[in-house]
Symmetry: D2
Subunit: 141 residues, 4 copies
């Protein structure tokens, strides 16, 4: 983890992520945010694939939002900076900042809120150990 | 236009729009919202493709958000219900409701805010005629 | 079914399906082909969702190919014309033609080959009834 | 370049690239192939973005194909191994092998054929310098 509690992962804008306006389509930012939280959870010792496959805990998105400040272009290198800002009994909230690596310009900010579901896809409380690990990695804004 | 000022278009959930959780991935909802506003603008006499190609007016998304209430599944038929809720000098705002056709359950709500850009991709005021047409079709919430 | 044994379904090119070259990205054609075979299987009385959920039969793609003859553009209406050209003991083959509705120009042709897998994702022979139904709808080229 | 003339770039399977079958959807392999040739062209001194923006040379896909040997799963690390196998006057052909990094299993093979187009999107001969550079990096199979 970076000192700030923010985790950073680099992605490069793919050709099919651009649209006819010549810039990255706004919906793909949600895929980049997803990469950000995947890497943050891996660092916190809770790889998301294991959560689903071994523990039958699922974290569907129940709310998402983004502000687009400047366009991302084909082949740009972007840093997805992710923080876990809230860990509740049944919900967690991540916040994201997307930064163009070349000049450190912030291209977008965003957030996602997730509910915990169990094997039957019914709401559950976060398992104790998972909640502990996430809370230790959280970085309230 | 429906009496309510809400425009509805049906889509069917495609196989590649599902993810390993067995439901539609949350980012694809932004593509469905985009279909909703494309059809609404067509109805209002401002097909978006013409706007870009003939008038050199672009409407990039500068803010977007969604709440996910219930999952959409493979092969579900969904109605995207779109309203244009604000037409300003330089920005417009659309709101969306995604409804499962089979039982009229609302699966998600969302919004997008757009800025008008000109041929050089610089901010412009909405051209007069476009603003008139959009305003006539607007349906403030 | 059309007299020719070819099944046709219309799609419209979505904004995020375009790329910075200003035309539809070539990988999305595979999603359109998938819509084509989904609709063909529905017509043949074997809706693919039921196959997976009720019968635990899966049809992953083991080979795919496409030739791109002319570009598809944003908002174009396209007809995906699908035929089932081979039904074997363990494999089936579909062929596709993508036609621009406006002027009946063929934009692309393609094919997919599928293997039948069972609940454990191991190869199986096509269940008898399924094979019968598919064979009746097949249209060898 | 690796001694073999094969260029390798690593990608990780993203959550939205999986489908309800629990594995990566077959169409996304074309996006990974595209990353492979983007990196190969960068290594050969012909970054594709520059080709389009500075030289007005476009390389649309006119044919593509893939064989799927074993599934790619969420969070798998994959190596896209790309070779440029043919450089003609007006066409080039790339071949791809997708390998799971963990155990070096080949998951898929594929190819794409590209035509050169100029600024008006009309067919052109490959510019001399570009052809020279590509030919030096080619690795006929």
């Amino acid at each position: 983890m970076e000192p700030s509690g923010e985790q950073s992962i680099r992605v490069r804008v793919r050709y099919p992520e651009t649209d006819r306006m010549g810039v990255a389509w706004h919906g793909h930012y949600l895929a980049w945010f997803e990469i950000g939280r995947t890497e943050l959870m891996r660092r916190l010792g809770c790889p998301y694939g294991e959560l689903e496959d071994r523990d039958q805990v699922f974290f569907p998105v129940i709310e998402a939002g983004a502000r687009y400040l400047a366009p991302a272009r084909y082949d740009d290198e972007l840093d997805v900076r992710t923080r876990l800002v809230h860990v509740g009994n049944v919900r967690v909230r991540f916040e994201y900042r997307l930064v163009r690596a070349e000049d450190d310009t912030t291209l977008a900010t965003g957030f996602t809120v997730h509910a915990a579901l169990g094997g039957e896809r019914r709401p559950i409380r976060l398992p104790h150990e998972l909640r502990e690990r996430l809370t230790r990695g959280a970085n309230p804004s």
